[in-house]
Symmetry: C2
Subunit: 671 residues, 2 copies
């Protein structure tokens, strides 16, 4: 090509080059690496390569283009326009050829790598580039002189027209003959990029979309998002309870179940796969698609759920050295896992970080990308175990901390799961009278209509976020002292403080006279939360020690629990280390988001696999400093770090209570 050739400039990329007269715009775009989509490979079938020529004088490009700069509207475009309609001003990039200097705009919908904007402002965009692509090809017909098989001719068509090496299993091969002939030697393949497998084949041009599922397999619930793989759109979301609950509420009790009942892991594998199959059916029905239209499932889970899903014995994860059977990401077949989807559908599981820090934590790392952050970010995903990530672009540390189930409402006298009727938010006024909100009702308890609104559910208990707010508010109002003791009614000046054995309790709600619940926060409850939050804090603190820092720039609370708790109350309680309160945010279901990113963007899989390899894993169980931090962190707030900013926002009263009838064990130990 000489300088005499026309100059072609693509916007918005600004990529430019000179091309011989007659070069198709699609071809020019490809040779410059411009992001212009095409499924049919330039045959005027798919219309994905639509472009908008810009005519006029463009001094900044040194180009003056007129209608004669592109070839005339042709029969293929005419036919396409008459059947499906081309937006005004649009041309098909595979049909329009370069005739003179021209500026060509690639509209967003013609870009292969569309970006989906995530709702939260701070979160990164997802570039849509899934692991499964639709490839339209024209296959040579059989030739007695060159008697290669249908498969081999399809393979060479894919090689020549798409530069990919492909193979197919026997199931797909069984369809190949008929589909090739039905499509008159034009077919569309669903091509799985990581393995090169042809997952399905359609006669002629098949537009899609294909669908994928992002699944967050938790010990309590299994949540799934159904996405269109071409647009990234979430078409349906659904969740089911994890039926393994009947083998044990929490992770360790499920491991114990296997220890006590050999073969119990097989049973738990079966029920969880069944539940996912049910979920697949529900979500497909919800989106009005067939379950066989779902070509891929990305799964994230903690290590024990991950192992049980894969059919691996989790017992080793229940005891030191907490050895994973496998840690890397896996690309598997749905069929191997007895999942009922498209018959060749693929399963991708994210890597596990460590024996206690699973693929769910890896998904959080993918979603929140601490490894790309300039700020030092602490990410905590609170459940029975808290997974903790700390780092920035210089490096990321991870650990898990055994918080126990208190944050989930277990081991709390009036505790319950976050279900309708559970108190989830609470405020205590200067008069020491509480007002609260319950799950399933938007009104506060002192607002008009509250009683009627909660009539159906009742007020039945207090959930994890509620107990945290309750204790923090009690601390703010001087009902609880720094060591975690509740004062008596005399000491606190409210009749809501009642004697409860050798300690006191605080009555939040009492309808026992009418046969309803009496919801109290006992000193035992506070102890349970103190232990849980101390474990969480100690884990975070341990990672901070490793980086030799006393503060973090940002705290992200991940997980369903993290989405519900109030940052201010968490800090009053001393759950998380010191940080400006406005820098504490919730990431919602970051693990689920990570699963969705991995589903929609193939490159992100390589990224998180690399990140996980690079993450420095800290095992709290063998770090002596962990115990030390744990002990120091039981106070409310703990004594080691000053609260920058928070003290001004929330002044904490300097009270100290004695337990009636003696000193608490706690105080004795600290004395």
């Amino acid at each position: 090509m000489t300088d005499q050739n026309p100059l072609v400039i693509f916007t918005p990329s600004g990529k430019r080059g000179r091309f011989a007269v007659g070069t198709a715009v699609l071809e020019a775009a490809r040779s410059l690496g411009v992001d212009l989509d095409s499924v049919c490979g330039g045959r005027g079938i798919c219309s994905k390569c639509q472009i908008t020529p810009s005519f006029g004088d463009f001094p900044k490009f040194g180009v003056n283009s007129g209608a004669e700069s592109l070839s005339e509207w042709n029969a293929v475009e005419e036919r396409y326009d008459s059947i499906r309609g081309l937006p005004k001003g649009r041309r098909l990039g595979c049909q329009a050829t370069v005739q003179g200097d021209i500026v060509i705009d690639v509209p967003p919908e013609s870009q292969v790598h569309k970006q989906v904007i995530r709702k939260r402002a701070e979160a990164r965009e997802i570039t849509i580039d899934p692991a499964i692509r639709l490839l339209f090809v024209e296959v040579d017909q059989p030739d007695m002189h060159k008697p290669t098989g249908d498969l081999e001719r399809l393979q060479s068509a894919l090689r020549e027209q798409w530069q990919v090496e492909a193979w197919a299993n026997l199931g797909t091969l069984g369809e190949l003959q008929k589909v090739l002939r039905k499509g008159k030697w034009q077919v569309t393949c669903a091509y799985h990029v990581p393995t090169g497998q042809i997952l399905n084949i359609w006669p002629g041009y098949f537009e899609g979309p294909l669908y994928g599922l992002a699944v967050d397999l938790g010990s309590t619930t299994i949540a799934a998002h159904l996405c269109a793989l071409d647009s990234g759109e979430v078409l349906a979301s659904s969740g089911v309870m994890n039926p393994q609950i009947r083998f044990g509420e929490d992770l360790m009790s499920r491991v114990s179940y296997v220890m006590m009942n050999p073969g119990g892991d097989v049973e738990m594998t079966r029920v969880v796969r069944n539940a996912i199959n049910t979920l697949i059916g529900e979500i497909a029905a919800q989106a009005n698609i067939d379950r066989t239209d779902i070509f891929e499932l990305v799964l994230v889970a903690n290590p024990i759920m991950h192992h049980l899903f894969l059919g691996l014995d989790p017992v080793e994860l229940g005891q030191a050295p907490f050895a994973l059977a496998l840690s890397d990401s896996q690309t598997l077949n749905a069929r191997e896992l007895e999942l009922d989807m498209q018959s060749n559908a693929k399963i991708y599981t994210l890597p596990c970080i460590a024996g206690h820090v699973g693929a769910d934590a890896a998904a959080v790392a993918l979603s929140e990308a601490p490894n790309q952050s300039d700020e030092l970010v602490l990410i905590v995903d609170v459940g029975t175990n808290a997974e903790i990530l700390l780092g920035n672009k210089d490096g990321v540390l991870a650990c898990s901390s055994p918080t126990g189930p208190a944050f989930e409402g277990a081991q709390i006298s009036s505790g319950q799961r976050a279900a309708p009727g559970a108190i989830e938010h609470i405020r205590i006024g200067d008069d020491k009278e509480p007002v609260f909100k319950v799950v399933g009702c938007d009104l506060w308890s002192n607002e008009e209509g509250f009683s009627d609104a909660v009539l159906s559910t009742g007020i039945t208990g207090i959930c994890g976020s509620g107990i945290i707010e309750a204790i923090a508010e009690m601390r703010i109002q001087g009902i609880v002292d720094a060591s975690g003791l509740i004062g008596s009614s005399e000491q606190t000046g409210t009749a809501r403080c009642i004697t409860d054995g050798r300690t006191n309790a605080f009555v939040i709600y009492d309808s026992s006279a009418e046969g309803g619940a009496k919801i109290t926060v006992t000193n035992g409850d506070i102890r349970a939360i103190q232990l849980a939050k101390a474990a969480l804090y100690a884990g975070a603190r341990l990672l901070m020690d490793k980086l030799n820092v006393d503060e973090v720039d940002r705290v992200i609370l991940a997980g369903a629990f993290g989405a519900h708790i109030s940052p201010k109350h968490a800090m009053v309680l001393g759950m998380i280390p010191d940080c400006p309160v406005e820098k504490v945010t919730s990431a919602g279901n970051a693990a689920g988001t990570g699963a969705r990113i991995a589903l929609l963007n193939l490159a992100s899989r390589g990224e998180i696999e690399q990140t996980v390899r690079e993450i420095e894993k800290i095992e709290t169980a063998i770090e002596p400093k962990f115990q030390e931090h744990f002990v120091e962190a039981t106070n409310i707030p703990h004594a080691t770090a000053p609260y920058s900013g928070l003290r001004e926002v929330v002044p904490l009263p300097d009270v100290s209570f004695n337990v009636s009838g003696g000193t608490s064990r706690k105080r004795r130990r600290r004395g």
Copy 2:
């Protein structure tokens, strides 16, 4: 290393190098590329690396070695010797270290690539280097500081100790935890080289052997050889009938069955896989092993059997352009094919050459290696279709010729399969009296004791090799003329020539008076054989045309039929082109041998895949010259080529018969 280092010379390879004092012999061998086996990687466990030091003066090597040239017998060798016994003079190559100049002999059993001598002198040796290797590894124990999975630690052990990349499916992963711990972090893996898959894992050192099956899936019978993958030894051979026979005797009738009965292919796939499962069970029992000890099956078959085995619709193969669904070799899982072997066992199918020239012909090409021959070799594998290969190291051609079932005894009035009671050899004396042998009896019919010997089977018919010898002998004795007509009793001077409709027949055996069989060769039989042999000859001739030759240097008759027919009679009949009679040999079951080579030598798979790509495929159906050759070749012998040598060996009488009552259609056409 300096020249001061001791010189180490390995025999029989003659490889030599200088090594630092203290270098293990195994290590020295490896660095020189000497073929010295080791499964345990030099840990003194497997004893595969036994060597024999040669002490004394070796002027030709410039070496004088004494007992002090190797380190002393050590505790590992002592222990091994006491438990299993080391042959006198042997050392373990991983234990003995170099101390001075030394000549070291590697005995054949210590070579990785042992060679198995095939029985026939002209056949090549098989180098034992199977697709599945046993690899012993020491795996790192779990480490909380580096929490990688068991799988990942096994993978890095294999990478470091064996330089291989490995993966395992969920089934194997489910075993991994227990086996690693049971073996105290020492395990042996069955590693499938082509895919990198770990097929099985044993605790500690597992010596093997693993077993493999070479299967020749014919339209009539399925034959299998069970081989030990480490020695190549054939431990058992067995065969079963192909149960698809009930859907049609020959290939085309099975294709017709599918055309007439949609889904009939599924049924035929099922029954043939079932039959192979039965065969696997039988052959395992025969060798006293478990069927799950069989790790690989190599299968060869004609294209229709190949497709039905793989579950592919064979209908396209029954009509032009005879399109294969797939032509390349396949590496599949036994489980996909519902074959009951080791749970991760692999199936390898050889490539098909063309729509009529299958993986069985490819196996023949692998066994007989025409592409490595200096001589121009013609290989014919005769069945319902004859597959024909012609070539030498400059190139190989292939075609298939539609011989029909006459050579297998079908369409012959007294014809039957080569089963007990069938006449398989026949000689006609100058007195025009026949003597014969039947299948299942070693005596000729004029030898003493013959009648008693055949009492149990009777004399029931004539099989393919029998009819060929009968017609050739009849031609030699002037009972049949060059056009294929049988003379009358007057013309031939024997009462065995009887009138049979408008033509004559020749009575070979008649016990009809005693209620037994009357076995005759009719003119119709001769016509059927003439058509079959003309097709065979025309195919061969077509390939010779392509190379522009009139003679070949060597003819190889492959297949069960080829093993039974007499070269001289085949040439009298004009089945095969001109060639010195002593250069016509039988290769026995060359397809089965090819399967065995592919089973035992991985590199041979790449070789035959390459050869098949390079073979020039000739489709007889679209070659006008084929018809021409066919018509010319119907005479006995045909008129086009002089028989070099054969005319002297077998003078053919110059007789010519007229058919009573008119001329035959045949003669009319040729007139």
